[in-house]
């Protein structure tokens, strides 16, 4: 049959590539990477063994780190030197390549397809998208203002951001077409964007109004405003796509929004001033983490709190492994990375002795969705 024949040929090519790509730290589901400027290092964290696997020494102080499973590459941002370092994770030598920029990389964000990175110069208001593989600039746009992170579309062709100074929701695609809509008045505390797993809808919190905006990304029009708790922060989507979980940073609650109905399902007490939420273990549980390090595990279906912990320091955003089993949370002021078992909602171990300026963890394969 013709269809099968064509497919099989493509598959053989794919498998021949896959079978040759085995080396030190190129297992995108297993290793996370954490940068430290003071030590000019990137720490390779083995999420399976929950240990420090390796330290990559750099010539320059890193300010950010992103990782691509598709290219088996680490991308390190250097703000002070206006450059990137590209590290080939598929070679034992971990070959480093200098990649000069014409802007300061305040933010370096990997696209979902893993072949392009967005580089943002916050002071200059300049956003570029680079093809890492081809080492060319695909997109360069000026007058971009945001204090929060960027969000890619599922195919990596469009980048979304909010400009809280104007109260707007914005997008630009690789063909330089820009769009902007006004969501609210300037300075209302718009959060970063989270999109639904099918890529059709964006969710943005507005802290001052205690609402979450739903935006239709195909029409680029606001759909709904959903009332949540006090001072909502960035919504966090469950990987099964059912819920957006909103940390109400102005209070001590978490709101679950049904992505199907756009309705608030529950608002429940969790921790004081929650800042991020990590769903895990087949989206049956979520860890709500406060800005002071309180951790509460909730049952996602009914919002009940089932376990509490206290981290001894201010945490950075956590990451969850692709099997949804392990949550890793960096705690810079303790130089530690703390691990939780999401299945059993239990603290299991930690890595100690890292520098006190470690940044967030970057993980190549962190979701469980194919699209």
């Amino acid at each position: 049959m013709k269809t099968i024949g064509i497919f099989t040929a493509g598959l053989a090519l794919h498998l021949s590539i896959a079978s040759t790509a085995a080396a030190l730290f190129d297992d995108g589901a297993r290793y996370a990477f954490i940068a430290s400027a003071s030590s000019k290092s990137v720490f390779v964290i083995d999420l399976q063994e929950k240990s420090l696997a390796h330290t990559i020494e750099l010539a320059r102080a890193p300010s950010s780190v992103a990782v691509s499973d598709r290219l088996k590459a680490l991308v390190i941002g250097h703000e002070a030197n206006r450059s990137l370092t590209l590290i080939d994770l598929s070679t034992p030598e971990l070959t480093q390549i200098d990649y000069p920029l014409d802007l300061t990389p305040s933010i370096v964000a990997m696209s979902p397809i893993g072949e392009t990175v967005a580089v943002f110069d916050r002071e200059a208001g300049k956003l570029e998208v680079h093809s890492i593989h081809r080492r060319v600039v695909l997109l360069s746009v000026d007058e971009v203002r945001t204090e929060s992170e960027f969000t890619f579309s599922n195919d990596g062709a469009t980048i979304f951001w909010v400009d809280d100074s104007k109260g707007t929701f914005n997008a630009v695609d690789l063909w330089s077409e820009r769009k902007s809509i006004e969501l609210t008045k300037p300075g209302s505390g718009l959060s970063a964007i989270s999109r639904s797993i099918d890529g059709a809808v964006a969710f943005v919190s507005e802290a001052s109004a205690n609402v979450v905006h739903m935006i239709d990304l195909s029409s680029f029009m606001p759909m709904l405003k959903i009332h949540v708790g006090t001072g909502p922060g960035r919504p966090w989507g469950t990987t099964d796509g059912r819920y957006m979980l909103v940390p109400n940073n102005g209070g001590r609650t978490l709101t679950a929004i049904s992505t199907m109905t756009g309705q608030s399902v529950y608002t429940v007490p969790t921790v004081d001033h929650p800042v991020f939420i990590n769903p895990g273990w087949l989206d049956s549980t979520a860890a709500a983490v406060s800005e002071s390090g309180d951790v509460a595990f909730i049952d996602i279906d009914d919002g009940s709190v089932t376990a509490r912990y206290q981290l001894d320091g201010v945490p950075l955003d956590g990451i969850v492994t692709s099997d949804s089993r392990t949550l890793a949370v960096p705690v810079p002021e303790r130089g530690s990375v703390v691990f939780f078992d999401m299945r059993h909602r239990a603290l299991t171990s930690s890595i100690q002795g890292l520098p006190l300026d470690i940044g967030p963890a970057a993980l190549a394969i962190s979701n469980n969705l194919c699209h």
Partner: protein, 194 residues
Amino acid sequence: MTVRNETPVSRPALMHFCLALCILVLCSPGYAEEVVKGNFDLIDHHGQSVTEHSFDGKLRLVYFGFTRCPDVCPTTLFEVARVMRSLGDDAAKVQPIFISVDRENDTPEILAGYVAAFHPAMIGLTGSEQQLDAVAESFNVTYGVERASDSGSGLDSVYHSAYLFLMDRQGAFIDIFGHGAKAEVIEARLREYF
């Protein structure tokens, strides 16, 4: 700089340096099994009706996907095939199952060619919309299909959860592996149940 790894929570160093421990633990470990029930009533790539009981006596590796998937599905199934080859004679104790969520494209005939490209023991399953919805709910799997004719994009858009499920000899849940799990990890876990 010295870096050390700590493991059990009970170690004094960990208590002092990192964490003030658990205030309240109310959870029980039983909910994992409740999340994944593992029931199905589908059509295999020979056109025969099958349920989870059709494979009783064998451990199962169950994966949801679609045959036109360019990367995640074939990569995962390639790892499953590596497991099967590495198991040798013990492979007879394991049934790899691929459930397609793209029922319009993935006919039993197409599924037959697809799974055979990975391993002769692999079986492909499909079903009606109602059957696929039921099996997705039973495994706590998300999927969606948007046809090109509806989206106007020129391409069908398919998404689905990318977990690989390990089920026991009666079809009950044992464990999951995330996208990117290597054959060695899967095989080691399987062998715990031989």
